[in-house]
Symmetry: D3
Subunit: 240 residues, 6 copies
């Protein structure tokens, strides 16, 4: 088996994080997983959703979008079609849960941070890139607050969080599927884990055919290794 990109089965694409790409946002990061490019911003607001008011706790949420021509064929703009599709809603709920899993909402105080993940160019793995880059934007936003003594970054941000997709491509377990692999893979799983190795989310799907426990375990092992690398790269990016 050869991967279309010539990568080894457990080899991720080239990963990069460019911080501070937005003049306005409190935190921002242009994350690249190969040809998948996502612009992540973290926006701080001094208000929380209605159902959280007067609880003393803050909130972290996320929104996700794809530019219409981030993909091979132009997609319809969701703003023009008048609603966000099920896939969009599913992904932004996942990003939000992933961020909240490593945030102490009480320590944040009654404020909201919104992580916007906008896909400038897509080549598979946009949700895992969004989570991994979104964490950098979140970190930088908390840094910004820390410098202004609005909150203690170390108390609010309890750990790293990063994500990777693994799948069975032509019978072999591979890490960080690109679009060519993803559209053909029998099985596809997304893993979200913390720096300490805790599991935040697992989403595995047997698209064409059910998969076995043994296959799942292989994907899991590769994901653990990849996420450890991503966390290392996040550390380098923030200069930790």
């Amino acid at each position: 088996m050869a991967r279309p990109s010539g990568r080894m089965p457990d080899q991720m694409r080239t990963i990069s994080f460019e911080r501070g790409v937005s003049k306005h946002a409190e935190g921002s990061c242009l994350v690249k997983f190969g040809d998948t490019h996502v612009l992540c911003t973290a926006s701080l607001e001094e208000r929380v959703p209605g159902w959280m008011r007067n609880t003393g706790r803050g909130w972290v949420t996320a929104e996700y979008g794809m530019l219409p021509r981030s993909t091979g064929d132009r997609m319809r703009r969701e703003a023009a079609s008048g609603k966000q599709g099920g896939r969009t809603l599913e992904i932004q709920r996942l990003i939000g849960r992933s961020m909240r899993a490593v945030v102490d909402l009480e320590a944040l105080g009654e404020r909201q941070i919104t992580i916007d993940c906008d896909v400038l160019q897509a080549d598979g793995g946009t949700r895992t890139a969004s989570i991994t880059g979104g964490w950098i934007a979140l970190h930088d936003c908390l840094d910004w607050m820390h410098q202004r003594q609005m909150a203690s970054k170390t108390r609010v941000l309890r750990d790293h969080v990063a994500a990777i997709s693994c799948g069975i491509y032509r019978g072999t377990a591979v890490t960080d599927l690109d679009y060519a692999e993803d559209s053909e893979a029998e099985t596809d799983a997304n893993f979200v884990m913390t720096g300490a190795g805790g599991i935040v989310e697992i989403q595995g799907t047997g698209e064409g055919a059910p998969f076995s426990r043994a296959q799942f375990d292989m994907l899991f092992a590769q994901a653990e290794s990849a996420i450890a690398q991503l966390v290392e790269l996040q550390k380098q990016a923030i200069g930790a």
Copy 2:
């Protein structure tokens, strides 16, 4: 640790399937997982979505809804609010994928079967009940077609599919969470598996805190056992 319901950790609620509850639908089933009651219907249409026309293949899709007062507090009716929420879309996409995982779309021919899962009463686990009961409705729809020689049920329907939720409740792995447990569980995973034990979907979430590999393995083991029981109950229900 005691479960609010007094059940053993790996004990499911009382499960029942009532077939043929709809005068109109080609297949139907009122499924109960304890106090969670879902009305599942399978509707056959001699047309497929536009993007599938002239492919010779059929399609199976699902829609999900909750009656406004199926829950403890009355929820806003989605028809009145003008859109289906992210949770609804996520669940109906999951049900659809689960059904398609055991259907041979070529053998079905260019037709669509829609599985409607409407929650009459909710007490946790509505998506797993929907999948498990939806399979019965699908089966009966294919039986209806089989009797009319429109398609071969045995060729179209390759296996059973059933689903269960497992989670960590007060430190213990428990099977088939009800609402009281679900709203408090640290970790919650939904498993969808076939009669042959193949994995169709795994969705695990560490709501409050990340979970460990060991915890996940426990949930997995309980789910395998529960799904085997559910498949057995499905067999009894259809008289197989």
Copy 3:
């Protein structure tokens, strides 16, 4: 003339009320007019619409929906199409007005009761079944409040309300049209009346051709008799 069901011209279908079908709702009733089955729930909320605040008066409103496969052909789910159709809005406004006609809104106090009528299976006469069964749900909700000394049921609920459709089918006035009759009837009228015989709503339509005063008077007479029977059945159902 023979009715498709073999009923006598003034004979209603078999009517039944099953109370307490919802674990959550303050009042609930599964009403059946033959093969027309409607699940009615009454939900109490300690708030009123904005325009009623600080008036000291309460509000009773209704919502109506049909499950997609409650009908012979599957209908599109209104939540998916993004709006409630004109027929739905018309029916739920009618149910709401009918309930309010027998409620003392001042005695209710500044609270709202919502009657949800969801059609599980349709065979004509869903709006009349909804009103007749909705009244039971409303009664049981007020009973629930009475037991908790939140309001006096006898002061709030001034009378019964019930509804029936009558129409001219193949030249004969018939009571309680089923779908086979309804889709063919020249004239169709819905009557909503109180236990005391007061008229709450009359809606008569000459679908195919105008009708005469004499025809209308016949329908009216049959409706009065049928509603008296329905009120009697309501009394039995609540044990009055």
Copy 4:
């Protein structure tokens, strides 16, 4: 009892029809019932709704709208709020049914006529004015077609149709309620009848309290007399 306007109980407001008010429409009429002014246009299109294609039959439908400041307080523009309210949908369905009751859809041929009724100024009775004036627009549209030998007006248009509201105001049955009466009336019924005296629609509502059969009969008698006068005025207007 004195009516706010000083009219006799069975006295309608001053009624007028101004034909040909639209440069573009095939038929048009500005109808006035006192201070209620409705602009009615009939638009002919050489196509029918999808579900009617290739049936050889035509269709007549209606749309209704109120200008935002046609009322005492400015209402929100429905185009801005993004949907037509239940009242609007109910009224336009009523107007459409009323027109179709006097049209031979086969004789019309596979074409659609849309009656648009836009309320320029409202003072009660907008739906009855819309039906009564809409008939003039419909007539003139059929006249236009007749002159072009597209259809036979006398075959397509079988009769007049007109409408009036009657109600119990301070204990007395009154005809053609204006806003001052309508907002206070205990009971309110709309009657739609043909030139031959056939009943097309009856919609009676006991807003505050149920009404009796005797009261209804009084309203009915006044309505019959008023509609006979309206039909006479229509005849004068079209020069028949």
Copy 5:
């Protein structure tokens, strides 16, 4: 070159203003530019948009709509299609800006005036007619307030505002394009100016082909002359 209407190049259509056409509105005007008829109303409300509260300043806004059959072919009703199109939004934003350009929002006080411009019949130039007639409605609303000593009309309303379209039709600069000219014109510009000759808005578009500075200057000169005439007609209309 001959204009379809036989007008001279710099000749406007017959302009008329009918004041006080609405029983309910604080100010109203039916403006006619030839066969273009627009009903303008000014509605006073004792509240401002949320973002203006407690600023002590008022707001003037506008809404625009076309009746479905104001045009040669029936257009879809925007209330039915569920949204206002881009052209509608663009025009109503323009009308609002034009009105605000001559209003002292502080002198108005914390109130909102909404100018509704509803096109009863369209024959080109609906936006310029709306602005020119809208000013009359605005004036009369302020007069109404002045009489009630709610605000000083002379302080609030600083000047007249009127608008005209000019364009290049078959090579010649013409004033006040009607539909026949507008649909064929190479270039089309709308000018909004004050009584003192100040420019409020200029919108010029080279539909088919770019235009030159010299052409633009010709249009501008004609517009200045036409607007001076319109202001004169406004003065006559209000009896100034």
Copy 6:
């Protein structure tokens, strides 16, 4: 008078074009006018809108969007709010008209090119940057077609098109307003012109107060000079 940026009155910000930034689009350009950054893509589709079918002519259209945190305060995502605002629709209509003014739609053939302009970072002048950069994307898309012999670039693309804003800031006419100037300017005009100096669009607005003909002439003169420079920069960017 000093501009906040220290620029001379007629000095544009630093302008740059980065071509080929999208792996998927037929043409793309990241255009920067100082801190205003817009990603423009051109997408070719072998179909035209319904109303253009079988005309043999093509179409060029545009869509515009702002990332939620492209601005100082986070804006609501239009996809989430369910509709595009009036400003968005107005801008994308302007971009589309500007592109079509320099395209021979017959020579294009029955195809559609969509120019998507997505603002990654905003600091005033996003619509003028979109037009100027959108032309580069359009050019590159036509180049792509030219290389594949699908169309003749030189026949389809008749000229350059570029745009600039000019305004009166603290009494002085300035070119290429940034956000600090724009939010304070008394007058603001956008000019769209071709390489040959033809005028495509002029949109001038006196926000706070009307402006004079002399002021407008100054803005015009500065715009002509700036657009000539922009066209020169476009030529350099495409290597012409």
